[in-house]
Symmetry: D2
Subunit: 501 residues, 4 copies
């Protein structure tokens, strides 16, 4: 039972226990901590800390700021086991998956180490006679990040290292479900030398989010979560005249071409669809088979593997899939499966009745596979965020692309093929922000940027990587000409006026 | 009397005369044309044309698209006299000023010629073993631009050449006051080979704007105008989940340091404050003098020059200042001056009663100068958009910077000094997007980007230059690995399966 | 008979006729002009003109320099027929090929138009407390280009537009064989407004080259030609302490994979091997077939097409291949073919005896095809620079790559395949600077850069594109801190010393 | 007495003691180690190790390579005291100076950590219809670095971290005078996980250097040292057809303007002229005073400070200046001073007779100051590399610039002024690669690049920073088009041929 969860403001842990809500271990269904919900006063305190810390942090040379990130990277590596245990405890994902998450987060820290290079502006000598011009990228002030439960350690690391290295101060509002890993990580950042107040954490729900967005101090908002919330946050930020990038939901399709190696595809889809119970915005939830023989063969290969999935507590290294995040969300997934059956989808593997011995109160589900799913069905249209893979059958690559392009989401997608043209045609025409060619989860490396298209992202700049540096800075364009007292005509330049004064 | 003003849709001029409103020559106060106000059906037609033109234009190689811009630049140069006459006729600015405006616009066309270089994505070989990743910048689809009266030719050229070169199609809603120059320019673009439907013009007011923002086809909105409208457009775009950059008002301060060369400052301020009647978002409307002796000397030098300003029709090359854009706007400026007098500002030169012989119905005003203006006065807080310069006295550079930083706008500013440190300290600390060091109107060259801070710009990317390329494109991140049939182990790579088939 | 060939120095054509040598029309074998060979005095004159023109040109804002390029591009398009006639007259290539050459050259002019963007330096604010640093790219001074006969118009346009836009002045020494097109082009550049002395042309042989390299004024040398000369020029430039990029010979292999579409390959190879008589540094002269059945089928398809090649004067639009550049070079090619026969290669099509009616004195050859060529044969090792294609048979892609990697040249290469992995594996591992995947002549577009590896290029920066901007400029790194008189401590900044004066 | 100095090849220390030479502690004049001079066989061993290590290192993803640099940075920080002791022992510089040197070296390691970002190539979609092109930057193979005595730790860190992160393997030939710190550093790199053979160290003189340059395996040569050697190495590398960057000597001028703050100038010059006994390629050895009163005042302020310089062993923290590197070099400096006296320079402070109690055999000299030096004097023309500062008097900034531009060297320079125009005019017109404005030693930060102009650098790319990434890589331009079997026409794409085969 974690008694220590607090807000982290101005480098200090703050226990503001007027209102709290329980945190559950989803593998056992038992409470494992109490989350304090920030009052308006606590949020004010965070805003004030961030505002006060800003000027001297913004004035610190980027190369000096970067030293914090180098030490922070070391500490993350040293303490990775502890962090991953906290992730698994509250989120439920298996430990190896937690390690994968953290590794990706550390890559974002590495990227942030390079801030002196990344902040370079553009310099133009002689834009006119004796006139120079350059553009600088200056920090914004206080910025806010609101992050989801499904990657409790990684998504915050997409945001604040970049924001903070750009010279901003930051307030993080993490998910209410699994705040402990990120809190621990933020403490490590302070150990690494981050000045107090530069990075603050407050817990809460929609009221806290709204207070943060509306606060006069706050210059920008980054959000990752579901599309309805993303949209609302984007709108509210704009209502306040603020810049916002809000990443929402997904329905990621994998296209399986007739020339694909089905062994490889099957393995890839098992991880992409069922890893972390499908609770990833990059999870593959739709397999689009080009040709019926492909569909038949793929289902033949997937079925036994899904049936054999090792489901159980994430702390047991032999498991492949842990529990769903909450009892509610488990029920929601079951409802989706029920409805799909009603709407005529062919249920090939049913994960609804899965139980895990000794963990009967855990929120476990087995892997589920549907065939003959069509675009009209709810299970196709909605983001299920559970261990459910559906097969949609088409006959041509173009039909596959059209299908994907008509879905409201456009986060990630992939194609399995050996064919150069199929890969290029697909990546060129698909209306999706992140594309894998034989890469089932095409999460961009940290030095590219992460973002979907259509209703998967609101805003114009993507998360982390180069776009995040642009998002967390303001362009300042300077044009300079020095008045002459005779240098240009070359005859009398000796600064007599100064020495004679 | 220009009978020919129409919408320009799918390459054709369309006269939709159900509703029209008059256009006036501000130098004479006489009607000089009738503007058709687009019905919903006409706007639909424009949207449909843009949507249809998009796919093949987006698929055209950028180097081929650029050929249109090269020819367009030639045509603009050839027809500059005609364009400038149209600007002066409807806007009123003097011809030399219209030429300056057009020259700046042409620079944006030149920038757009470089699109093959500007659209380069980032390529990373070997992000993992045998995995490559790259980011492409793909066009958005249909984008919309809404532009103000004060630079009828230039501001549209900030937007659509970049947007269109990025592969988008475009709908422009220009100002109702002075649409003829931009219409002429758009026709030249078609002469230069721009395919029909790629660039369309519709006229109208708030209803047309709202219809455009709300249209499902429209992916992005660029706006330049006043802050209240900019804010409303930013909010409405976000309400629709769309990206938007909305540039608003300004109150640009020039700081005059004790070491500044006052002859130079006086000349610079005359142009920066009174050029185009101060109807520029980069006009200097506040002179901040550091030290009373600077204020006294500056006012001494400015007064006779402002009194001697040549005011009259823009078509007469001897004039320095033309009329205000409308009778209403003229009255508004007079009201501001009246109120400033009431609030205690010291009127040094009064331009309210200026009349121009033979042009008594024109909307002329003389230059006006106030001393002893304070931050509490309306004339200091509001963007007057008229030929009014106010002097605010401070004692230190830091007070000057604090003053500027507390204003709600942060568009442009400049400092006059010879001192390296003063220039750097000012440019580093002032919360303004465009800074001049001894450059009174620091409009960035076309290969940098234009944008203010605070309530002068809503959005995160600035107008034209590099930021506009990012604004008018979507990032697509591709991660690619090709499955191996034996290449990697280096022993048996002969594609046996192919050759044996 | 072109009487007008002269040096072009300081904007003036100079006829220095002490020593001249004839220029021949290779289609007729008749003299068509006399080339003046520059004396030491003439070269001095060019050096002096370039040196004098440099300072004011270097001080001209890049955006102003670019205006010359925009006009120059227009003139090149207007006068393309004339230019192509001059190319064909002296070089012999068919007119459509001359047009292709010129089009590529014009793309380099377009790239140079973007110089304001390309010259941007890097700006870093706050590298230490109150210290800024930036890097500028300043011009070098006088630079020299030495260009080959095979692309008389294009290769000079690889060099001087970039060099001159960077702010340098330039001396071009074109090929002695076909100087007229480039002279005409340089005259157009002057018509476009290039100031006198910025671009100069001198004719001559090795003495002129050496004098240019050794001249104290000359800062950099660009060369394109054969490898022995390239190497000598690289060494001599270094001996003088100068930077140099020297592009040499090639032996470009096309790998034909078993899955390639042989119709497409055959068409591609016809153009790539026999276009311009194979006198291109990017010509494909070796087809590497993976699998004997590929070799057999390819030869079956190539043979009738090579036999049917239309050979004749380039001025006749129905011809596909014109004459070899000189009688000597024709004989050299015949000698290579003879030797290959002796060394055991299988002659499939013999072009040695080709004659063209009415053009019996022209230097024509037919297309030649060899099978069973091995790495030990002279015809494999040497760059033939004639219409000769040889087939080398291998069994695996890895053997193909090893073959290519062991050749002394590494200019261009390509692979024909549909397979994504084969394409990536090849492009990743082949030691060649320019790689085509199903693109037979992978000459990079003008906004990338051109250069081979191994003994195909001496130097570290490639020709044209981004590398050329770096080659033609010097980096200057500036670090700046302004001394404070009280600004930094934030309390007393009022420039008392100034205001008290 | 360091018994452990060996070559470091393939990760192992190798004691090859056939030929050795002594290493001296310059503070005591006593031998402190024996340097083994590599035989041809040992050099072959290093070449072979580097060649063997190359392929798998080159194939390692850059992000994985970077992990070595992160750990290496930690180890350098942990072991900085040990490293600095080794520097001071063999070089003589005071410990605080050794720390400064190491800190700068670590910054280069930080820059190298960012290699995934730095290696990004350029990607262009749709350069033609369905054709993409991109440029990659691939490693070269084995590269060589030859480094000087004066920064035994830092200069090697300018080279190999960048080269090795680019994927190359490296052979370092450090100075014979002070090899121990760099050896220790290279061992730390191996502790950090650098694979064996990727980085090797061999000791020796000109024979070893020549063998390395001439070796077929070696692709590129980086050198820092004196100009005559730099020139010879540049020429020899080119003779072998190899790329080379060779940094040579310097004569760095500081211009003191009449408005400069002389207290600040005096302090700055003390460090810049006498730090490390002036044995820095960025040392200021000439003060150019604008106006006689400036010269007089400056000399007045400098004289007592130079006389009071604390000279003694670098291990004593109270000392400001240690010994000269060798007895020979000490004598050479004395000879220069003698000759300057003979040639008419006015000796203001004479450091020739300085002795340090208890260290009578150390190679100490005191600080020396000359007035009235002219460009004709040997002490002005030559790089003295000792604690000697000369004053050259001029009357205008333009004379100062002309003086500097006429010197054969153009490494670094600085100006002291408050005046914006003087700073810009100077930095714009001075023919020097690294310019300080009120920054006496304008060594660029690690994310810019280091290099002089004129005879201070041979080559076109500068050391470390962005230029070094370009130097240590080869550009590969790939153009790709996939053949179509019907995808484009949209009717029949189901890859039937594959599944039916």
């Amino acid at each position: 039972m974690n008694q220590g969860i607090g807000h982290l403001i101005n480098g200090e842990l703050l226990h503001d226990s007027v209102t709290t809500q329980p945190i559950y271990n989803p593998a056992t269904g038992k409470e494992c901590g109490q989350l304090p919900m920030a009052s308006r006063a606590v949020v004010e305190q965070a805003l004030s800390a961030a505002k006060q810390a800003y000027p001297s942090w913004a004035a610190t040379p980027p190369s000096a700021r970067a030293q914090v990130m180098y030490r922070f990277k070391e500490l993350l590596v040293q303490h990775q086991d502890k962090i991953c245990q906290l992730i698994t405890l509250e989120h439920g994902k298996v430990l190896s998956d937690a390690k994968g998450e953290l590794a990706r987060g550390i890559e974002n820290v590495e990227y942030a180490c390079g801030i002196p290079e990344l902040l370079k502006g553009e310099h133009s000598r002689q834009v006119g006679t004796n006139i120079d011009a350059w553009s600088e990228f200056q920090p914004l002030g206080v910025v806010v990040g609101i992050t989801p439960f499904n990657f409790p350690a990684m998504v915050p690391l997409w945001m604040w290292p970049s924001a903070v290295m750009c010279g901003n101060s930051f307030i993080l509002k993490p998910s209410e479900r699994d705040p402990s890993s990120v809190l621990y990580i933020v403490e490590l950042a302070h150990q690494a030398g981050l000045p107090k107040g530069v990075l603050n954490v407050v817990h809460g729900g929609v009221d806290v989010v709204n207070q943060l967005i509306d606060a006069a101090e706050v210059q920008a908002v980054s959000f990752v979560g579901s599309t309805p919330i993303a949209e609302a946050i984007y709108q509210r930020s704009a209502q306040q005249g603020k810049r916002c990038q809000a990443l929402g939901g997904a329905k990621n399709h994998a296209v399986v071409m007739p020339d694909a190696d089905l062994d490889m595809v099957t393995n890839a889809l098992m991880g992409a669809a069922f890893g972390s119970c499908g609770q990833r915005c990059m999870a593959i939830s739709v397999a689009v088979t080009v040709g019926d023989h492909v569909a038949d063969a793929l289902i033949r290969q997937l079925t036994p593997k899904i049936e054999a999935l090792q489901v159980g507590p994430g702390t047991d290294e032999s498991n492949e899939m842990g529990p769903i995040i909450t009892a509610d969300q488990k029920q929601k997934v079951i409802d989706y499966i029920d409805e799909a059956c009603t709407q005529g989808a062919s249920l090939r593997v049913d994960g609804r009745t899965k139980t895990v011995p000794d963990y009967e109160s855990g929120y476990f589900l087995g892997g589920t596979l549907f065939d003959n799913v069509t675009p009209e069905m709810t299970i196709y249209q909605q983001e299920v965020f559970g261990p459910v893979l559906v097969v949609v059958r088409v006959n041509t690559l173009e039909q596959a692309i059209e299908l994907i392009n008509q879905h409201e989401y456009g986060n990630g997608t992939c194609i399995f093929t050996r064919d150069g043209e199929a890969g290029r045609f697909f990546s060129n025409h698909v209306m999706v922000g992140m594309v894998g060619i034989n890469v089932p989860l095409p999460v961009p490396v940290s030095y590219h940027s992460f973002g979907g298209w259509k209703r998967s992202l609101f805003g114009d700049l993507h998360a982390y990587g180069p776009d995040s540096v642009r998002f967390y800075t303001r362009r300042k364009a300077i044009t300079q000409r020095w008045p002459s007292r005779g240098v240009k005509d070359g005859t009398q330049f000796s600064f007599p006026s100064y020495s004679e004064e």
